[in-house]
């Protein structure tokens, strides 16, 4: 049987003819932005890093300012130490002698820390100048500190000693060798000198100036003529008094000069220079910072855009996926329909041929009858004679009378009509097109119907052997199961065609188990090669020549059987034959197999 009936029409194009694979065009659409985005991301990230580093370049200033702070502290402490020495609070002069070295070390550290800073030429020249002046100021301060300490040492000693020296002198005056008058005068002078010393020691500022030189001179004159010891003691007294006063004045001068030493001012100027330079840098960096912020914003925008793109793509993919799934279902339905149409086409052709035979038979019979009656009428000469002839035996002595002949012919004709009727009935069964309408049907009826419809296809090819057992009805869509059976029978016929001897199709119906019925369709055709066997249910897989079949038949059958909750199995041996086994549920939700299988006597499928 050829299936050259035209398809009802070409399959409508699904959204993607190659279901499950995105065309390269669409992938390209998605990938290209990803590349651009990656490059942009890297560039922005690098830019941001660079700008952030440049924007944060005042780390060097921090270190320089740290050293500057240490210098300021050293200087302040130095001043405090010098004052404490001058006040007599500190007897250990290490504290005024050591700091100059710390100042130099601090200056060196500051210079080193300033070297890598981004300073303008003017700023750097200014720093160098300030550093030079600071060195000079520190050296001057060290000099003054040394002199202050030196002067203080003498002052301390003389101040401590003077009371004793005074007492010694006054005691010495008690010497009887000394004239009382002289003694009194000496005492007087001593008091004045002591007063001058006290003024020098305890008064502040301008009031400190005293002039005891005259008194000392007078004392010297007075005591020159006194006994040696007294004169000596007077000299000692005068010397120390003079030392006290001179050192006191010196101390004042040195302190004034110390106040004028500009170390603190120079350090302040250094600090402001660094601050200015830093501010200038910050200004310049503002641009970098703004750019960095701008880049950061761009980066965030880019990320947001990418995120949105991603979402969009995801939605697109979801939609495409949905569409594909829908189309897939549609396509399936269309394929099923198309296969059915194709099968229908085949079947209609077959049925047309089928009907022709009994129809021709009927026509022939009726035609013969007509001829017989006409011949008989001619022979009888009249209708009365024809009635007598009806019962007369034949001339040649054979049994059938004319009546008998007529009866036989009529019976044959009826038989032919009956055949046509059968076919039409089968057709009606198949025409119950509603796919989802399920009901309980006897599977034997469906098989017979399918066989009837295939009579033409099988007539010259094979004999049919039926082995039906008693089985319950199956719950199915009759048109679909008929389609499956037709397909299986058709395949069996095809397998056995083209050979010189007739094949044999054996159809067996048995009980598979508690809830299932088994239908075996066995042929002794060419068989299916083992390497091909796993693929026969694949769509578009066919052994037939081009144009002879779409290859959809078995895949459709498989789908239909699966939808019914059944199984479609195959066993084949090359050169021996193939057996397709259809296992269908008798009822949906039937109890599972109890284990005791129904006997399959007479339906052994083992080839």
């Amino acid at each position: 049987m050829d299936s050259q009936m035209a398809h009802p029409g070409p399959l409508p194009q699904a959204a993607a003819p190659q279901a499950g694979r995105m065309p390269l065009r669409r992938i390209g659409q998605l990938v290209r932005p990803a590349w651009i985005a990656a490059i942009l991301f890297v560039c922005l990230g690098l830019g941001l890093t660079i700008l952030a580093l440049r924007g944060g370049a005042d780390a060097g200033f921090g270190r320089a300012e740290e050293f500057l702070g240490e210098l300021e502290q050293t200087d302040a402490q130095w001043t405090a130490s010098i004052l404490s020495v001058q006040l007599g609070l500190s007897q250990n002069y290490d504290v005024v002698a050591a700091p100059v070295y710390a100042m130099w070390a601090g200056r060196d550290a500051l210079r080193e820390a300033s070297a890598p800073l981004p300073l303008s030429r003017e700023e750097r020249a200014r720093l160098v100048d300030l550093e030079r002046r600071l060195t000079g100021a520190a050296t001057e301060k060290a000099e003054l500190a040394g002199r202050i300490a030196s002067q203080r040492a003498v002052l301390s000693n003389s101040t401590r000693f003077l009371p004793a020296a005074t007492a010694d002198l006054l005691n010495g005056l008690a010497d009887p060798a000394v004239a009382a008058e002289t003694a009194a005068e000496v005492r007087d002078r001593v008091v004045r000198i002591a007063g001058g010393v006290a003024t020098s020691l305890f008064q502040q500022g301008a009031e400190r100036r005293t002039d005891v030189d005259a008194d000392i001179e007078e004392l010297g004159r007075l005591t020159a003529s006194l006994p040696g010891l007294v004169a000596e003691r007077a000299q000692v007294f005068a010397q120390h008094a003079a030392l006290i006063i001179s050192r006191r004045q010196l101390g004042d001068e040195l302190l004034t000069r110390l106040e004028a030493v500009p170390t603190r001012r120079l350090l302040e100027e250094l600090r402001s220079t660094y601050a200015q330079a830093r501010a200038g840098l910050a200004q310049g960096q503002r641009g970098y910072r703004l750019a960095a912020i701008g880049l950061a914003v761009l980066l965030v925008a880019l990320i947001a855009y990418l995120g949105w793109e991603l979402r969009r793509n995801y939605h697109q993919i979801a939609r495409s996926n949905q569409q594909l799934q829908h189309d897939n279902v549609e396509t399936q339905a269309l394929l099923v329909q198309s296969a059915k149409m194709s099968a229908l086409g085949q079947m209609v052709a077959g049925i047309a041929h089928e009907i022709n035979t009994p129809l021709a038979y009927l026509k022939a019979t009726l035609s013969l009858l007509q001829e017989l009656l006409q011949n008989s009428l001619r022979e009888a000469g009249s209708e009365r004679r024809l009635g007598e002839m009806l019962r007369e035996p034949a001339k040649d002595g054979s049994e059938p009378t004319l009546f008998g002949d007529i009866e036989t012919l009529l019976s044959d004709g009826l038989h032919g009509a009956e055949r046509i009727s059968e076919l039409v009935r089968s057709l009606r069964n198949f025409s119950r097109l509603d796919q989802t309408q399920q009901g309980l049907y006897p599977v034997v009826e469906l098989i017979d119907g399918a066989l009837t419809m295939s009579t033409y296809q099988l007539k010259h090819v094979a004999d049919v052997d039926r082995a039906y057992e008693q089985v319950p009805n199956i719950r199915c869509s009759p048109s679909q199961i008929s389609q499956v059976l037709l397909n299986l029978i058709s395949n069996a016929a095809h397998a056995m065609s083209g050979r010189d001897r007739r094949g044999l199709i054996r159809i067996a119906v048995s009980r598979e188990d508690e809830g299932h019925v088994r239908v075996d369709v066995r042929d002794n055709g060419t068989g299916i090669p083992p390497e091909v066997l796993p693929r026969i249910f694949d769509p578009f897989f066919t052994m037939k020549k081009v144009g002879e079949g779409t290859g959809l038949g078995l895949s459709i059958c498989y789908r239909i059987v699966s939808n019914h909750g059944g199984k479609l199995l195959v066993r084949s041996e090359l050169g021996v034959g193939t057996t397709f086994s259809l296992i269908l549920p008798t009822d949906m939700g039937a109890a599972p197999a109890s284990g005791a299988r129904a006997s399959k006597a007479g339906t052994a499928v083992n080839a």
Partner: protein, 322 residues
């Protein structure tokens, strides 16, 4: 609580030693690199540092002569006597003023000056570097100790490191300062008390018991009275005036450190005083402007004897005899 109290007392005494006292003890620990000290010692004794190869630092600064050489005036490179008595190299690390002139300079600067002085090394660093680089063993050691290898800077640093390591800690007086009441005898303690009462400590104070302040020799009386009386005034007698040219600096010298003074005779800048007793009495006359009686002088000299610390030697330090 008792323990805490005792600790407080103990540390208080230590604090007393460090801050309330005008004199501080020599630290017993130093953090100097041993490798560099060793190299410095080699250089200190190396005559190749001088231009004619006859003088080393150790020529005048002998460890077993109190860090000086016991001479009144050492002999210079040219064979002539130097201008002033050689000061001790010991405890240089704690000197804030250098040489008899009392210069404010770092030890490194002093080393440079000594190197370049025509009467001392009379040499320049590049020549020294060239000469010593030829000594492969020494060059290798320098490469190991200094990342830059043997340069003027590293030679100078090695010398300075070694010199700084020449301290004399743990003198009896230091131990007494740290709280060891038994370190000084009663007379010695009395000597210290006199040292303070008379005012010696006004100038001889600080960690090095001097070397941190300058003073004129001859405070009391006419300026230069000491020299007038001694006679034959020299350039060196002008002291700091030679450096600053400031009239106020005439006859002004660095107050010398009294540490190890018992070992560093003869005394004063001209090395003219042979004994401590004489030195102390000169101090009394010209610096303090008073006289001291014999017992006091003796006590003070006894006290001065306690200022001798552990002398550094090639193999370690020698503890001072009692």
């Amino acid at each position: 609580m008792l323990l805490v109290a005792i600790c407080c007392l103990g540390s208080d005494r230590m604090l007393r030693a460090e801050t309330a006292e005008p004199i501080a003890p020599v630290p017993t620990q130093q953090s100097l690199e041993p490798g560099r000290i060793a190299l410095g010692r080699v250089l200190f004794e190396d005559r190749r540092l001088s231009s004619n190869g006859t003088m080393a630092c150790a020529s005048c600064h002998m460890l077993d002569r109190g860090g000086a050489d016991g001479q009144r005036l050492s002999t210079g490179l040219d064979g002539r006597p130097l201008a002033a008595n050689t000061p001790t190299v010991f405890n240089s690390a704690f000197n804030y003023l250098r040489n008899w002139a009392g210069n404010v300079e770092t030890l490194e600067t002093l080393i440079d000056r000594v190197m370049q002085s025509p009467t001392l090394m009379n040499e320049r660093w590049p020549n020294v570097v060239a000469r010593l680089s030829a000594d492969s063993s020494l060059a290798r050691q320098f490469a190991a100790a200094y990342s830059e290898g043997m340069t003027a800077a590293s030679l100078r640093d090695a010398l300075a490191t070694y010199i700084r390591s020449l301290t004399t800690p743990n003198s009896r007086f230091d131990r007494w300062l740290r709280g060891d009441e038994t370190a000084l005898t009663a007379e010695e303690q009395e000597g210290y008390a006199l040292f303070r009462r008379y005012g010696c400590v006004s100038c001889h104070q600080g960690r090095n018991i001097g070397a941190n302040v300058r003073q004129a020799l001859g405070i009391v009386g006419q300026p230069g009275a000491y020299f007038t009386e001694r006679g034959s005034l020299t350039e060196a007698d002008l002291g700091r005036f030679q450096v600053t040219g400031d009239a106020a600096d005439r006859f002004v010298f660095r107050v010398p450190s009294l540490r190890n003074v018992a070992l560093t005779a003869p005394y004063l800048h001209d090395g003219s005083v042979a004994t401590l007793e004489e030195a102390v009495s000169i101090m009394f006359i010209y610096q303090l402007g008073r006289t001291a009686d014999e017992p006091d002088l003796r006590r003070i000299v006894q006290f001065l004897g306690t200022l001798t610390g552990e002398i550094p030697q090639a193999g370690g330090r020698a503890t001072p005899a009692r």
